[in-house]
């Protein structure tokens, strides 16, 4: 009887918690819905004196206008190139570097690790001018490489990888060494296959950082044809009397690839973060 009452008690509290969480989730998702609702409604509805929560008429005019007015494909192509190359370079370099800090002892290790953690805390605005001068010297202004290279080393990623790889058993590595495997081969064939969760986390976060990056590309890329999607979005919303329907249409289009990556990898997210020792 008591057990039954307790079970009913948990049931009711579960229900209340579920209702609260669902209501909260609806509030959280509302801005994304609103982006969508603004992008697909006609101008007259957008600039109504009291906007309706649900569009009455649906139109694709805003997307058509974006297609005609902006070099959308160029922007998307630039964003994709920067994000994909950025992910490949950064994830690989971070894995190798984090593995080294986790599994090798060498003179200067702790000092170097602290230096890298120190780099994590440098606000971009602090070094943006000297960094700009260096990139200009290298002749990389208005080039995607000028965006990719300075952001390729990511302290946060190295930190996460190190935390994760500390728990890989040393015996496994020693056994491979006794078999005569080279160090790089051990990394490729023993360490990487064990690192799937952390690789998933790194791919999500790095793609997100590169795809959404704004402050640094804003300085490096000045030619409109070289713009990424966030810079293009900033251009549209910065116009006098911005066409909000078009702005939201572009924001929505820029969000789609990120959403695809997120949905593909989100199953691994909690597990991956749990395994990095971010806890």
């Amino acid at each position: 009887m008591r057990a039954l009452r307790r079970r009913i008690g948990t049931r009711t509290s579960d229900l209340l918690v579920w209702l609260a969480l669902t209501a909260g989730a609806l509030v959280m998702i509302f801005p994304i819905y609103w982006m969508f609702a603004t992008a697909i409604r006609p101008r007259t509805e957008i600039f109504a004196s009291l906007v309706a929560l649900v569009p009455h008429a649906i139109t694709w005019d805003n997307f058509a206008a974006i297609w005609q007015r902006t070099p959308l494909l160029d922007w998307a192509g630039n964003s994709m190139f920067i994000a994909v190359i950025g992910v490949v370079v950064t994830v690989f370099a971070n894995l190798l570097c984090g593995y080294t800090f986790a599994k090798f002892r060498f003179p200067g290790r702790d000092l170097l690790f602290f230096a890298i953690l120190g780099a994590l805390m440098i606000p971009i605005q602090v070094i943006i001018v000297p960094e700009f001068l260096i990139v200009a010297q290298l002749g990389l202004l208005n080039s995607p490489w000028g965006v990719i290279l300075p952001r390729a080393a990511e302290a946060f990623g190295i930190f996460m990888v190190r935390q994760f790889m500390v728990s890989i058993p040393d015996e496994l590595l020693e056994a491979a060494r006794l078999d005569g495997a080279g160090e790089f081969n051990i990394f490729l064939r023993v360490v990487l296959p064990l690192s799937r969760p952390i690789i998933a986390v790194l791919v999500i976060f790095t793609f997100m950082w590169r795809w959404n990056d704004f402050a640094w590309p804003l300085v490096v890329l000045t030619d409109h044809a070289q713009y990424t999607l966030p810079l293009g979005l900033n251009l549209l919303r910065g116009e006098n009397n911005p066409e909000w329907g078009q702005v939201m249409a572009l924001a929505l289009l820029a969000l789609l690839p990120m959403l695809a990556i997120f949905l593909a990898f989100q199953r691994h997210l909690v597990q991956g973060i749990a395994s990095t020792g971010l806890k």
């Binding site: 982006m35 606000p123 080393a153 959404n212």
Partner: protein, 309 residues
Amino acid sequence: MPRDAHMLNDVAGRKSRHVWAARRRFLVPYVFISPNLALFTAFSFAPLLYAVYISFHDWSLIGDSEYLGLGNYVRLFKDKLFWQALANTGVYAAITVSASMAFGLLLAVGLNRRLPGRTVLRSLYFLPVVVAAVATGTMAAWMFNDNYGVVNAILVRLGMGRIAWLSTPQWALPSLAIATVWVRLGFNMIVYLAALQSIPSLYYEAAKIDGANAFHQFRHITLPLLMPATFLLLVLNIIYSFQVFDLIYVMTGGGPGFSTTMVVQYIYQAAFVTSEMGYASAMGIVLYVLILAFTVVQWRASRQSESVL
């Protein structure tokens, strides 16, 4: 004789191979970290040193620079706007860090229960994290728009008056804080969730047998065991709040007036609007030292609390 020579040769060969292998073994870690090290040196450490150098000069990016010694730092100390920006940053950080961490913990505890559709709920709460700050800022500016914004439309429908969200100093910062919490919540939730899942359920069962109620369990088991996650999140959230740029640049541009100008905005203005590279760099160095100091203090505190546990 030739046989001995052969043997000697062999020993020498094996020895040199051994030395070579040992040397290579020694070099391996440095080779492995060299790509990152090169990138960090070129694009983080060198620019940082260069920024320190610039901060002692008066320089407008074009033309000659003039050595000022500590001039820029003295100016900064007397600059009311810098103090205002610092105060804005402090208030903004205090509000956003505490709110997004508290709500993040609440959500994590809720979503750690066995509830129908909890995976979907988790994803919905995490979703804002992946939205570009530029898109978030643009969307927030549109939603908080005085005349056509949906927030005011809802307020009017509920029988309340319109609020001039982004055009009055007293409402601009709260609007910004709301947008920031929307962005940050999911990350805090997921780190807390990961931490919660690593707490053995045995602890709770033992507490239940001892007659501890849900609140006591939370207070005496959950909270203490979440300490490492809390410290980590505190560090990351404070760094984030001190460095926030994109969102504010797009949403309020630091205004109205100076009401939402944070230190990074002020640095950006000094560097790219008024072209005072030396002054911008001096502010940057001060901000960096502040962030480092905060982190070291928190790190110390976290180590102390761990040794207490």
